[in-house]
Amino acid sequence: MSALVHHALEAAGLLRVLELRDQARFSDLVAIRDEVEKADWILLGALADTIRLREVGDRVRVAAASKKSAHESDERGLAFLREVSLARIFSERSATIAVDLERVGIELAEVALSFGANELCGAMRNKRGLAIAEEELGGVGKRSKRLLLASVKKRELADVLAASGKVAEFVEAS
């Protein structure tokens, strides 16, 4: 946590949340929920990100199928990030906070990883058009192309997470 963020959390009285979590006083935490929810969304994000870093670190579990989906959510960015932050802040220690790639898209999912989330689930969608190197897929059979596509997409996703300082850990979708 940077000093800038620390001072902002302190000024907003939100450092208390960290103390309560460290002491496992969850009923006391729930008791101040209304007060916490009034905080600005970026402070909630900073708080949730601090908790995420302390409790689960920088590893991001990816439980994603490689199926392409045309579904587009109408969920707005800030409201969603606020929900993610609150989920992290009020969940039990080391909880998994998962966001659905298929619903929110890779862009917002990636940002959610800075607001307390630590797992990506659902089908991967292309980001900004061609997320994969076309030439890698040239001249291969249909079945092989599908397998190659899945592995290239995994690599793409790992690269996106690495760019945000996270480490991807691919697991089978449950």
């Binding site: 963020v5 587009e72 917002l108 061609l130 190197a133």
Partner: protein
């Protein structure tokens, strides 16, 4: 917080201009939310909780282009190439005529550099739109197009701008800036206006009384050093002319162009670039989160990372969509209001020159926006133990 970031924070809070090194510190700082919060502070200092948008409409009258920019998926090099199109004047005007029941306040036209059209085509194009709607603001032709017109029709930049201004031109869009640094520009767009020529066109436009926008295409082969250099060049011209109304960071999209092997910039990069732009450009009033380039969701988040403008309704964008943008081609007026309102900002409809058309005060919402608020808040979030 690093010592370097601490110094930047102090400078920002004392309204001191940031240096090249400060810009690099901001791009390299790992704490994204700290950078965002700082940019938000500056944005709120300038604009309070207001976020601007307009009723605009995009038209690309031709995609025939003599330039061979590596990042472009829109241009066709020859008029007879598959997919090449050039609208007749009547076809172009029709785009406005069919929308006169809910007309835009601004028409934004960006084209390829077509070698086969007479200059009179562009003059007639502008005049025709003004005939249909005299008060519509014509924000047309990038500085790259103006420079092409000057070379192709053998006029000075000033002559081109004056003739177009007489025909109805009000403002220039910011496209064509790409990355100013020659190390990058010579590799991605070697056969069009140089950085100096681009900036000179804007300098003259500002002298002629136009306010214009400017951009930066980021996330391809450039480095953070090139981005900071770009921002500094914008800032220098703005010190001289005060003619830029807004700065628009444009995310590179890789689909179907000469740099398709490169990954697109990530959303975190989008937000960081918005924030650094806000912090470096202390003399540019507005930083725009261009929703077509970064998706409406990330643009909304960008409103808390230093952006005070989210562009407009657009209606039918094709340049970014040719490069694989997954954003819709247009947003309805009420969707924009809702997007801004949900960021806890006050939506302000503006004209091209940032005159207020309508401010949506906290208790007011377009009826159509209210109807979509019944969605379940938590349907996209799973909490697993």
């Amino acid at each position: 917080m690093t010592t370097e970031l601490g110094k930047v924070v102090d400078k920002v809070r004392s309204k001191e201009r940031l240096s090249f090194d400060d810009g690099m510190t901001l791009f390299l700082e790992p704490d994204l939310l700290a950078i965002g919060a700082l940019a938000n502070e500056v944005c709120e200092r300038l604009h309070g909780d207001r976020v601007y948008f307009n009723r605009n409409m995009r038209i690309e009258v031709t995609n025939v282009c003599v330039a061979s920019c590596l990042f472009c998926s829109f241009a066709k090099l020859e008029a007879h190439s598959p997919g090449a199109h050039t609208m007749s004047l009547e076809e172009a005007w029709r785009e406005l005529e069919v929308r006169m029941d809910d007309p835009p306040s601004e028409i934004h036209i960006v084209n390829g550099l077509h070698p086969g059209l007479p200059f009179s085509y562009y003059e007639a194009l502008l005049a025709g739109f003004k005939r249909i709607k005299p008060d519509v603001v014509m924000k047309c032709f990038t500085a790259v197009e103006i420079h092409f017109f000057a070379e192709h029709y053998q006029m000075s930049h000033q002559e081109v701008l004056l003739r177009l201004q007489r025909a109805g031109l009000d403002s220039l869009p910011g496209g064509g800036a790409e990355i100013f640094h020659p190390e990058v520009r010579s590799r991605i767009s070697h056969d069009k206006a140089t950085a100096e020529q681009y900036l000179e066109v804007h300098r003259i436009a500002h002298r002629l009384g136009m306010r214009t926008n400017t951009t930066m295409l980021y996330g391809h082969i450039e480095t953070f050093e090139h981005r900071v250099d770009h921002l500094q060049r914008v800032r220098e011209l703005q010190d001289e002319t005060h003619g830029f109304a807004a700065f628009i960071p444009l995310a590179f999209h890789p689909d179907g162009n000469g740099m398709k092997h490169l990954p697109a910039p990530t959303a975190v990069d989008d937000l960081r670039t918005l924030a650094v732009s806000r912090l470096m450009l202390d003399n540019v009033a507005h930083i725009k989160a261009y929703w077509v380039s970064m998706t409406p969701k990330i643009a909304q988040v960008g409103l808390r990372f230093g952006a005070s403008d989210i562009d407009g309704t657009i209606v039918h964008e094709t340049i970014y969509h040719a490069a694989g943008s997954s954003s819709p081609q247009g947003l309805r007026y009420d969707e924009l209001v809702r997007l801004i309102r949900e960021a806890a900002r006050v939506p302000v409809e503006r004209d091209t020159h940032y005159n207020v058309v309508r401010e949506w005060l906290p208790n007011a919402m377009p009826e159509a926006a209210l109807k979509v608020r019944d969605r379940k808040a938590d349907r996209h979030l799973r909490v697993l133990s």
